[in-house]
Amino acid sequence: MQKWRKIVFIVLVGVLSLTGVGVVRATTYTSTHYQVNQILFGSGGCLSTVCSSAHYQAQVAVGEVGVGNTQGNAYQAYSGFNTNDAPYLQFIVTSSSTNLGTLSTSSVATATGTFSVRDYLSQGYIVELASPPPASGTHTLTALSTPTLSIPGTEQFGANLILNTSPAVGAIPVQNPSSVFSFGTVTAGAPGPNGTSVTSGYSTQNYFQYNNGDIIAASNQSSGETDYTISYITNISSTTPAGTYTFNQVLIALPTY
């Protein structure tokens, strides 16, 4: 009888192994040739597709064993019931149109814009400037190629992403909900994915710079939402050609997965 029990046990192991084939095929742990997503170690729970009725649905977790991000040099994993297996990027630039009016040689003109970035299942992201400086006809305002103070009377166009006092404009990046979950930064040299880093010149108070293509923000890991404020200064000289200067700031968020 004990022998038959052994036989049944071995058969069960075989059947379970067979059952396991499906699991492995669908979702696998990561090695050279395999990966797995969405594995549950916990006391219980259900997805919305299970915990649902005609009028309600819910996702339930009971006693989650561990939550959060775990990463090594090559791989990372997210633990917790409410995880998703799809790479994600939320990049929102608040649409804004600022009219600075008629510029003066005696005072600086300022404008701000805001954007936010959140990404998931990535190695991080960078945000790049992707627009030329303001132009009118054939003349393009002189962009500050190095960090420079605002000097009214000298033709200048620059930007930074920090709180300034002269002129009083801008704000520091805000981690949303907190720095525990969000990691975007504008600090010079801060790393992004694939060996990228934030270009210096955009995080020093009262110093402005603008080079098309510069990296102005980055995170080197998946990040909750970081809210950025980009500030612009414009100064003109007595010889800045007359005209209406238009600047359309295009920003590019580039995550690497």
């Binding site: 192994s17 095929r25 050279t32 992707a130 700031q249 997965y257």
Partner: protein, 420 residues
């Protein structure tokens, strides 16, 4: 019999064990049998960089830089990039095309060389790959790019960066996230469709996003600051010609005959077409008597001759170019004489004391027909672009012994006109 029974039972038991063990082994083997999706590896370090995130750039040709590190060392002859608005999940049978998106028509332009990114190795080679757009969205817009090369390349898994640019992509016309599903194949015939991807090698999903544009508009008004003075802007531009008694002399030496004093004009303008300075007025006159105008490039090298004229040179240049002085007034009419080098204008020294020596005399001009009879005067100088400068106008006069006595005066106007 018992022995046999035990033997039989023993053989049967061992047979069953063997059978079960074989079954387990077979199932275990089945578990690791090559199944395309299981064997396929997720590529790491994958990204698609957009040249513009502006959804309004839909009508423009945007470049998408596709980059990923191959995870499998295997011959690659085709790469599929499918753009979906719903998710990047390989295996999802639904791929909704992003609104307004287009990979570049039926024959998208792709670049596999490293021209656009010299930091990369051209893993795919500089040529040999062709692109095709499939999965028609509407009109001539397609959702899926497939690039193929009948020869193919074999990247080194975990090392080789596969890179190519899509150079004629139309962005989605709405802001927000959209996705790309990337797959590599060992044959040029991929058989790809969402949810039925065929036998692919490596795969990966990427999220992209269009975003609004920050628009800043400002105006710069037309500006022209023009000041004529002797000492500084705001002071009167009254000039007394002559010796210490303000008398024009006929007996001065040739190199210092007559007397000059300078006036200055400062010109600052942002006129994109520059500005023109006109000279308007009569020559020195007293009642009905005139001191003859110098004409064009008059050379004063003989004492005791009548003339009234002027020349101009740039004194200070802050921005732009120095004004181009009309030839009649540039002072260079004789050899290498110049207005600046051979005159002084500090209101203390007789300028003509250094008028120069032959053949390098400074020349003077005053074209009366233009300065005194035309509506706008004679062109003195001009600049072709915005500029900021201070310029000196050296005024000179000489008389001969027969010049009627009197107090000779004239009122000269300098008129600046900007072209914007």
């Amino acid at each position: 019999m018992k022995y046999h029974q035990n033997t039989f039972r023993g053989l049967s038991y061992r047979g069953l064990l063997l059978t079960v063990a074989l079954l387990v082994a077979v199932f275990t083997l089945l578990q690791v049998q090559p199944v395309s999706k299981v064997q396929a590896a997720q590529m790491l370090s994958r990204s698609i960089k957009m040249s513009s995130s502006n959804p309004a750039a839909a009508a423009l040709s945007n470049t998408y830089q596709v980059r990923f590190t191959a995870e499998t060392t295997s011959l690659v002859k085709a790469i599929v990039v499918d753009f979906c608005s719903n998710d990047p999940i390989i295996g999802d049978a639904t791929c909704t095309a992003p609104t307004g998106f287009d990979v570049g028509g039926t024959t998208p332009t792709i670049v596999t060389s490293t021209v656009t990114d010299p930091t990369l190795t051209a893993t795919l080679g500089a040529s040999g790959w062709t692109g095709a757009g499939t999965n028609l969205i509407t009109g001539s817009q397609y959702r899926t790019l497939t690039i193929t090369n009948s020869t193919g390349v074999t990247p080194t898994g975990g090392t080789s960066v596969i890179a190519f640019d899509m150079t004629n992509v139309t962005n989605p016309t709405t802001t927000g996230t959209f996705y790309a599903r990337i797959l590599t194949y060992g044959t040029t015939t991929t058989g790809y469709s969402p949810g039925s991807e065929g036998s692919f090698i490596d795969y990966g999903g990427v999220a992209l996003s269009t975003a609004a544009v920050i628009t800043v508009t400002s105006k710069v008004a037309e500006a022209l600051t023009f000041c004529v003075y002797v000492g500084s802007c705001g002071t009167a531009a009254n000039v007394l010609l002559g010796d210490s008694h303000d008398v024009l002399s006929t007996t001065a030496p040739t190199t210092a005959a007559g007397a000059t004093y300078g006036v200055f004009y400062s010109l600052s303008t942002n006129a994109s077409g520059g500005a023109v300075i006109y000279l308007k007025g009569n020559t020195l006159n007293s009642g009905g008597n005139l001191i003859p105008a110098a004409g064009t490039r008059y050379i004063y090298n003989t004492t005791g001759t009548d003339f009234f004229g002027l020349c101009e040179y740039n004194s200070v240049l802050t921005v732009g170019s120095a004004p181009t002085v009309t030839s009649a007034y540039d002072g260079t009419g004789d050899g290498s004489g110049t207005c600046a080098a051979n005159t002084t204008d500090d209101n203390t020294t007789a300028a003509l004391s250094s008028i120069g020596t032959s053949p390098n005399y400074t020349t003077f001009g005053f074209t009366l027909a233009n300065t005194n009879t035309t509506t706008y005067g004679d062109q003195l100088a001009s600049i072709a672009a915005p500029g900021n400068s201070v310029n000196a106008v050296v005024i000179a006069a000489g008389v001969n012994a027969t010049q009627a006595e009197g107090v000779y005066t004239t009122t000269l106007q300098l008129i600046a006109t900007g072209t914007y």
